[in-house]
């Protein structure tokens, strides 16, 4: 029934979703054709292409109708005999990840220059953008896998080619880790498609049809879920398969770090929602305690290790592990608040951590070091940068009124009703987040400035303008997250209803004592009715 809800929606006349993939690819092509003598056109071309894509993604958000349907659907049969199709669509779950990717790319391009080999750098960035857009819109498992891989390659070259320090090692580590995860995921994809086909007689890779069928035996479902989960766990990353992240984050060029944190880590958490929960509700429910545990370990362990890092970028990398731990906790809470909070946190982490990486990148450009011990008193020399850093830091700490808080709070609220004691431990992460960020801030920005620290330049106008959108979002999403939450909600409610319908004796844990199980059943029935009703309209 879900598939019918989701696929039954109207299709627009202009294929905007393919355009979101095609524009960056065309831009890459244009960049490739720019003669070597006109290097000055490279950046402006990349910026234009990515900005146009961003504009389209924002248009999609504006035109998005607040319901649980899959919208702007664009589908072409790909290999009928394989049941694979080139199908793109956006619902409340993927909408804001697409918009986030759209916004982050132009900012990442504007904020920082690669320093050398400009042409391939921008080409890889634009290919990366195309992949990032596609991966959140793909509704076909094989297509998703294709984009999932496509995203990996440009990032590998960006880290290896334009990174710092031991960049080739970091890139290789990143590649091997994610490839291993992808291989396992491919096994999962095969298992679920073939396993379902054996039962239903129809081979399909459409995620909604597969979710609807629920045809796998419990054991097979669990096996497939684990295969998917391992692939996603590496991407998130969950402890203990996280050690590629600090290296990759630290050695990547600034734009790479921004995209890595803002977009690519979300592939794992998005995968858990879109594929883990949708395809394998029962298996996910059975293994939820494992993921609560891993999430909570990530929160505390990531924060503890972040506290004593000596490199500013590495510190932020470990803080990402902690933030992503919260997201995992919210997803496996399997209730509206938890999942909405997780989705919101994905967006907010992209904004805040992206901004942090950009600021640290600027410090590095000026001081040629990210070593915390070598920096001191920067607030005296660069008060505007310090003010921006303070705001972004407070957002990352989860100060209410700024964006980071809303998602974190909803996650913990949802998780508390699903997994009380895990949540109690998770909330200590809130204390630790304040500790590691404020301590780092104190050492870098407070105190006396001497030597190069005293003469460091403050933000230039163009730098200020490139971070301004992120700062605006940090404040806006903190004070008025309603437009975002509203658009997510129908899709999340449908997912929760799907979970309730397909898990034995499960009702949304958040509503114990508030709504009786009968109410929950009504909700499911209403969802089903709505589905049938909508089917009838078409």
């Amino acid at each position: 029934m879900i598939s019918s809800v989701l696929l039954g929606a109207e299709t627009t006349s202009f294929p905007v979703l393919p355009a979101l993939v095609a524009i960056p690819l065309l831009t890459a092509l244009v960049i490739a054709l720019i003669p070597g003598s006109r290097d000055d056109y490279l950046k402006i071309t990349a910026l234009s292409g990515s900005s146009i894509t961003a504009a389209f993604s924002i248009w999609v958000m504006a035109a998005f109708e607040t319901d649980d349907s899959l919208q702007f659907v664009w589908e072409r049969v790909w290999a009928a005999d394989l049941g694979a199709s080139f199908s793109l669509g956006i619902d409340g779950i993927s909408l804001f990840l697409v918009v986030l990717s759209g916004i982050l790319f132009p900012i990442a391009i504007m904020c920082c220059d690669p320093g050398h080999d400009h042409k391939p750098y921008y080409i890889w960035l634009m290919v990366l953008m195309a992949g990032s857009m596609g991966v959140f819109m793909a509704t076909d498992l094989l297509l998703f896998f294709l984009f999932f891989e496509v995203v990996l390659i440009p990032m590998y070259f960006l880290i290896g080619g334009w990174g710092h320090g031991d960049r080739v090692f970091a890139a290789t580590k990143f590649f091997i880790y994610t490839m291993a995860g992808s291989a396992l995921m491919l096994i999962g994809i095969g298992t679920v498609a073939i396993g379902t086909a054996r039962q239903t007689g129809v081979l399909t890779f459409n995620v909604f049809e597969l979710a609807e069928a629920q045809a796998l035996s419990p054991d097979l479902a669990r096996f497939a879920f684990i295969a998917f989960a391992l692939g996603f766990a590496v991407k998130v990353p969950l402890v203990p398969v996280h050690t590629w992240l600090p290296d990759a984050h630290t050695e990547a060029p600034t734009a790479g770090s921004v995209i890595l944190a803002g977009v690519m880590l979300k592939l794992g958490t998005y995968g858990f929602i879109r594929f883990g929960l949708f395809l394998f509700p029962q298996a996910a429910k059975d293994l939820a305690p494992l993921f609560f545990t891993l999430g909570v370990i990530g929160i505390v362990y990531g924060a503890v290790v972040a506290t004593v890092q000596k490199d500013l970028k590495r510190l932020i990398a470990y803080s990402s592990i902690a933030h992503l731990g919260f997201i995992i906790l919210g997803i496996f809470a399997m209730n509206t608040q938890g999942i909405e909070g997780a989705l919101l946190q994905m967006v907010n982490h992209g904004i805040s951590t992206g901004a942090l990486f950009i600021l640290v990148g600027w410090i590095y450009e000026r001081r040629h070091t990210r070593e915390i011990a070598a920096l001191s008193g920067l607030q005296s020399a660069a008060p505007i940068m310090a003010a921006a850093f303070t705001l972004v830091m407070l957002s990352s700490i989860g100060l209410p009124g700024l964006n980071g808080f809303v998602g974190e709070f909803l996650i913990l609220l949802g998780a508390y009703s699903a997994a009380k004691w895990w949540t109690v431990v998770a909330v200590t992460g809130v204390i630790l987040a304040a500790l590691y960020l404020l301590w780092a801030y104190q050492r870098v920005f407070h105190g006396k400035a001497e030597g190069d620290n005293a003469t460091m330049a403050d933000l230039s106008l163009s730098e200020g303008l490139s971070i301004l959108p992120l700062i605006g979002l940090i404040i806006f999403m903190g004070l008025y997250p309603k437009p975002v939450l509203e658009r997510m909600e129908p899709a999340v409610e449908t997912l929760v209803a799907h979970l309730e319908a397909n898990i034995d004796g499960f009702s949304e844990p958040g509503n114990d004592g508030v709504e009786s199980p009968a109410d929950a059943e009504d909700l499911v029935k209403a969802a089903i009715h709505g589905a049938e009703g909508e089917e009838g309209d078409h």
């Binding site: 496509v150 996280h242 290790v305 100060l399 304040a434």
Partner: protein, 789 residues
Amino acid sequence: MLEAAFLIPAFPIAGFLLVFLFGRKLGEPVAGWLATLAMAGSFVSTLVVFGGLAGLEGEERFFIQKIFTWIPSGTFNVDIGLLVDPLAVTMCLFITGVGTLIHLYSIGYMHGDPNFSKFFLYLNMFAASMLLLVLGDNLLLTFLGWEGVGACSYLLISFWFTDEANASAGKKAFVTNRVGDFGFMLATFVIFTSIGSIRYADILSGADAMTTNAATAATLLFLLAAAGKSAQLPLYVWLPDAMAGPTPVSALIHAATMVTSGVYLLTRLNPVLAEAAQGAVTAIAWLGALTALFAATIAIAQTDIKKVLAYSTVSQLGYLFLAVGTGAYVAAIFHMVTHAFFKALLFLGSGSVIHGLDGEQDMRRMGGLARIMPITAMTFVIGWLAIAGVPPFSGFWSKDEILLYAWNESKLLWLVGIITALLTAFYMTRQVILTFFGRIKFFDAHTDEIEMAFANRVTDSKAALEDAQASVGAAEEGVAKSEADLEKRTEALAKAETAVEETRMAVASSLPANDGHEKLVKAFEKAEKAIPKAGTAMEKAGAKVTDAHQALAHAQTAVAEARELALTAATAANRAPKAPEYVTAFTDGPDVSEFESQMPDSYRQRNEYHPHESPWTMTLPLIVLSFFAAVAGGLNLPFTKDLHFLGHWLEPSLFGNEAHLTDISTATKWGLAVVAIVVGIVAISTAFYVYVSEKVNPESIELDVFAEGWHLDNTYAKVAGGPGHAMFDGAAAFDAKVVDGAVIGTTTLVSRLGGVFAYLQPGFVRSAALGIMLGSAGVLIWFLARLWL
């Protein structure tokens, strides 16, 4: 009129935005006036809302103003909305009232600070957060304010960030408060799961449906939150350090308003407390009582004027917890209000002292300041009488009511409370004596510096005298030389004249026809020519002699002057060891201009040795606050029920959860009041005995263990810096060596065993990556081909 509620936080928010946008351009003092005006606007709005609320019947004094929906998610839904009831308005009245005065005071205090406008930016932001905290119509908006004031506190404590100690204190305040926030968040979850909403309207009406377990859990978790924000055991450690911030911040945030948030929260949630197990509520009372006593013992041994007040604040906040825990909500709010007046007054007074003494904070270097800063001293004395519990000053009435309820709950709680009262009166008297009375000790500490100033001057003038003498010598030499020169020239002239005369005679005696004659004529002409030359030379030499004589005269004058200077300096140097004379002049005059004129300009301009009263922007708030500190007891007098103004006013917010004093007779009440007065008198007399008559060595009272705060803070620091830090480092090492090491080790092992090591070289990965890329491109092209061909 209630609709004006939104203006209460809107004014400081507008002030914040204006100062943010134009503060730097406006500069000092306009930015400060703008911020102060915003606060005053907020105060007036509060008065309007208060008027509106007072015009309603008791039960109707509950007004909710929704502004917009904040976080909607499934069954969870909270607004940015304001709850206006007697409790909230009471809080707003003293926050905006005291806040306006402290803003005004800051204009004087922050004079000359390079970040003047930024200070007011933070101050307005703080006020807005604080007002949202008390006005929020749900727990989450209160939490927004709660965290907002915490963030502003962090920014203001580390305002002078170049000093590491200030930066550390700011961080410590934030992180310690986060421990409390842990409790706040979990308590919110407990409330949501058991009531299904976190709006106060729902909580207050639905609390009776909570299970005892849930209510107990919520109460204890909120207590943890409150203990953080209101600096109670064991989380109080940040507050004394927070004194690193500018003094107006200590007065506003760390005495009058923010630190009372915890008490506000517990009072607001009184229906939840009513459902909790009795033990949990009693725990609040005991935590408060013990903190009150604990902090009071520390306060008696502090030497920093602000540290005394900081520990005093912790102690007084303990009284508020004691009140809440014994169901004396009215007394808690009553004492919160009187405390806001007298503690803000005391902090601002100490700020005025610090300002007048150019940053001096050590009370051992004060004393006798009453003669120099009469307004500060007078108002401080009123604050002292109020906190020491001397009737009829405000603190007496409010503290007495808390002790009464403590007696009602348990005699032991009362005992702890009364001992604390004794200590309070003692340490405050000590502070007043050390600061304002007795001998002026400020100069003791600086005698060396003053002597140095004079000594330097002597050295300087001696050097000048030597210089002058040297120049006299040089001038005398010059005179001698030019006189010798003149003599020589005169001789030369005489010689030349003789030569002319001789030749003239020779010419006359020889015949013109003679060969020798021509020669002689030539010689004569030559000799004649030499005369003017010799004359000019002589004239020049004469002029030189005059010059030399003039130089000599100058040099002699200089010597005379230098001698005089040296003499003055030597006289001054003789006086310098008697620096107290300067002090005496200061104290009796107080005119030190004569002394100061003897100091080099550089010392005089710094005004270091010239304590002074503060400007009117600082003294006016002191005067206003001292008025309220004196009379605020009138808010809730105990004599008849009609005089319980505050009690009646707050009734609608307390839902009948206020404890009743049915078992206590009027005689007992009078008895307890008399005991409290006697205790106060004893404490004050003891302090006079120790610190004025000096018959007892203060060290026998100011024990090290008190001075060191029972070593609790040190222990925290040692644990955090030692084992704590080691554990964190251990985790990082574990991550690098074990987790990452295992992965790398396994990879290496597997590849060695399989002989595929070579494939894992970057080169291979690079080819693989390109392969995937080309493969993907191939798939795409194939797809496109299928589509169109």
